[in-house]
Amino acid sequence: MSASLKLSSLALGMSARVKDFPRTGNTFIRLREMGLLPGTTVTFIRAAPLGDPLEFKLRGYHLTLRREEAEQITIEA
């Protein structure tokens, strides 16, 4: 039984579809409102020079996210 893939483990330049992530908390509701929903396709663009935060591309724009948040978002293999 493999553990679910996390958004934070997505390779540079690769895309994936979001599977699920926490339903409560300001951060996660805001993420949904910004268009990051289960089923959305996301591309990992880069990490900041110091390693955190991370930059993703979705729905035609670029969004930053902390690694600890990306670790709670699962993606489809």
Binding site: R23, T27, M34, L37, P49, E55, Y61
Partner: protein, 712 residues
């Protein structure tokens, strides 16, 4: 309150009215979609900026004219990603649109502006706004950028689907403005064709909330439904002062349903958001077409360098260097020019007026005090311009992205970086730049520690002390730079240390979110950046100006009275005899443990007007006439100054201690004035004075006493 404006009937036809009031439009949109550019293009310079009472959010109202020449009022609401507010800015936008603010009437019509290059996310806010049932005009901006990236947006089709006027725009070029004004001038605007299915799980909750909002909160029917839907995504809702709270019954119903769903495990908020996006995706599928496969955009290519693990640092360093160069070198010429003119003005007044108190008040109080601040105006203008440029091009977001990891070590967010960096030049633009920080606690902490970043006004003090400290005439450049750098480092460490402390104790809060959009790079119109610069500088002058004038007069009074009994007393004798002199004596016991005497005490007091006043005060106290740029005569005077017993006053240790005092102590009345404005009260500025000056005393005490004990 009826659902439609009084002069429009239910079918959208205009009711003949004897006198119509000016229609009020609200301009709303996501951040970074060119809303300000559009607002400027529509209103020109006919804008009024203020604050929403009780909140530190900017209120911008402007006026434009319909094609018939009738005035139209436009409120530029703060940028928002959603009406479910996560920041005070968004809370104000939500409250004004829902009619919850008693100081701002609900707008008649709404202008929604969206970015053509990422329509889906932009349409989320529009989707929420359409729930309100108000007439809406949709402006699709940045059509030029869409075309460049091969994106085709079918405006006509969009207009058909939504049933409201849709105008294509390139606000930065002025294209589409005429069509927009035409649409805004229309007497009857159709209401949107907007129906979407609320997910079954939440439908009954929505109905109940809607009923309660109508009955208990007296909301008009459509607003009640819109608000009911909002309340269900409004986690930990941000409430700001000035907005009418919900009735108890409604809050009760909401809480009951939330508990119910939590027990069931229903994703109520998420399902609402998802169903909106489903509707939007359906809409966009027929509207937006991407022509072929596109390579990396210009923005992507720039970012490859700007956020590169190596080059990114060089770019950041370059930006920082440019910032400081502009402050210290480019500003020099205008500063000297202003300085010269102020001196000339003072001389003219001296020649023209009869000697006496009124003349002294004018020259030494008003002109010298206000003039001292005006001299810094070029620096402040340059800073505002620079910060505006960084914001509008999109680089600011990249700087926050790069520095976030370091900032979060002290509990702050990358967005604090540029405000703190600017404070190295002058804390005032830095503090005003904290408006981009959404979380009120983070914003407050940044404001509280910003003055610890050694500003340029401290430089004259450092330079004087370094000259007095080191033996001989010529000061080796390396030593000078080294000591100054030490002061900067101490200040920076202090700032970050206190930020960490405040975030842990006083202003404890959740670690800030770093969910931020990196907008594509854009070349702003020079006109807009200059306008923004003058607007901010004007605000500063207006607010701080009155306080500075007041304090300058008070300080002049304190140094000029009571008059020395001998009519031809020297300035030195006068100041020793004055209230300021007495105050200096009064605080001497307090500052003696730091190695300072009453004369230094006077300098500390007068520095409250502006830090660099210390140098001229020392000049007066030690009887050195008009030293100007030459510190040599003053330096010599300081070196020869002694305590009553004969011991030297300005020993190297004391010079060092004095410099450190200036690193930490809160002086500069202009900064206090700005902090008061930005925090809406006296509580925080007073706290800032207390903690900074207190720290200065303690640190200096330690330095002086330890040094003294070691025999220095």
């Amino acid at each position: 309150m009826s659902q439609l404006p009084p002069h429009i009937t239910a079918t959208g036809k205009k009711r003949p009215a004897s006198a119509e009031r000016t229609p009020v439009y609200a301009l709303v949109g996501n951040p970074n979609c060119g809303k300000s550019t559009l607002f400027n293009a529509l209103t020109g310079l006919k804008q009024k900026v203020g604050n929403y009472p009780g909140v530190t959010v900017e209120k911008k109202i402007g006026e434009t004219y319909s094609q018939h020449g009738k005035p139209i009022k436009i409120i530029d609401l703060p940028g928002a990603y959603s009406l479910a507010a996560r920041s005070p800015d968004e809370a104000v936008t939500r409250d004004v649109l829902l009619g919850r603010r008693t100081d701002t009437p609900q707008p008649d019509r709404i202008l929604c502006i969206v970015d053509a290059t990422n329509l889906e996310r932009n349409l989320y806010l529009v989707h929420q706004i359409l729930d309100l049932g108000r007439p809406v005009i949709l402006v699709v901006n940045m059509m030029d950028l869409a075309k460049v990236s091969g994106l085709e947006v079918r405006i006509g089709r969009l207009e058909q689907e939504l049933g409201i006027p849709v105008i294509a725009c390139e606000a930065v070029n002025g294209k589409g403005i005429v069509d927009l004004k035409l649409a805004m001038s229309r007497v009857d605007l159709p209401l949107a064709r907007h129906s979407w299915d609320v997910p079954a799980a939440v439908a009954s909750a929505v109905a109940e909330l809607q009923a309660s909002l109508t009955d208990n909160d007296r909301r008009p029917p459509l607003v009640a439904r819109a608000e009911a839907l909002l309340l269900l995504t409004d986690f930990d809702t941000v409430r700001v002062a000035g907005s009418t709270p919900l009735s108890g019954k409604t809050t009760e119903i909401l809480a009951h349903w939330q508990r119910h769903w939590e027990g069931e495990g229903t994703d109520w908020a998420g399902s609402l958001v998802a169903s909106r996006y489903d509707a939007i995706a359906g809409l966009c599928s027929g509207i937006v077409q991407q022509a072929g496969v596109t390579g990396p955009s210009a923005s992507d290519k720039i970012d490859a360098v700007v956020i590169h693990p190596l080059w990114g640092w060089l770019v950041l360093g370059g930006v920082m260097t440019l910032l400081f160069l502009s402050i210290f070198t480019f500003a020099e010429i205008p500063m000297n020019w202003i300085d010269g003119h102020i001196a000339a003005l003072a001389t003219w007044v001296k020649d023209v007026m009869a000697p006496g108190d009124l003349r002294d008040l004018l020259t030494d109080g008003v002109i010298s005090g206000v003039g001292g601040v005006l001299v810094f105006l070029p620096q402040i203008l340059i800073l505002f311009f620079f910060i505006g440029l960084l914001e509008n091009t999109g680089y600011m977001a990249r700087a926050a992205f790069i520095m976030d990891r370091l900032m979060s070590r002290v509990g702050l967010n990358g967005k604090s970086f540029i405000p703190l960096l600017s404070s190295y030049a002058c804390a005032i633009p830095g503090i005003m730049a904290t408006r981009t920080i959404e979380d009120p606690k983070d914003r407050l902490v940044t404001i509280l520690v910003a003055p610890l970043m050694s500003c340029s006004a401290r430089l004259p003090v450092y330079l004087l002390m370094i000259a007095a400290l080191l033996p001989g005439d010529a000061v080796p450049v390396l030593t000078k730079v080294g000591i100054m750098l030490l002061m900067y480092v101490i200040g920076t460490v202090g700032a970050f240390g206190f930020a960490w402390l405040f975030k842990r104790t006083l202003l404890k809060g959740a670690p800030p979110m770093m969910i931020m959009e990196l907008p594509p790079y854009r070349l702003p119109r020079l006109r807009d950046v200059l306008f923004q610069m003058t607007e901010r500088a004007g605000l500063f002058l207006k607010r701080a100006g009155t306080i500075i004038l007041g304090i300058s007069i008070v300080l002049w009074f304190l140094t000029a009275y009571p008059k020395h009994p001998v009519p031809d007393a020297t300035a030195t004798q006068q100041i020793a005899h004055s209230f300021a002199g007495r105050a200096g004596h009064l605080i001497e016991p307090l500052i003696k443990p730091l190695g300072f005497d009453w004369r230094v005490g006077i300098g500390l007091i007068t520095s409250f007007a502006a830090r660099e006043v210390f140098v001229s005060s020392m000049g007066v106290i030690f009887g050195v006439e008009g030293s100007g740029d030459q510190t040599t005569p003053l330096r010599d005077a300081l070196r020869h100054a002694t305590w009553p017993g004969g011991a030297a006053l300005f020993t190297p240790l004391v010079c060092l201690t004095l410099m450190v005092y200036y690193v930490f102590a809160m002086q500069c009345v202009s900064t206090v004035a700005v902090v008061k404005r930005e925090t809406n009260g006296w509580k925080w500025p007073l706290f800032q004075i207390a903690y900074m000056t207190g720290t200065a005393w303690v640190v200096c005490f330690i330095i002086y006493q330890t040094g003294h004990a070691l025999g220095y």
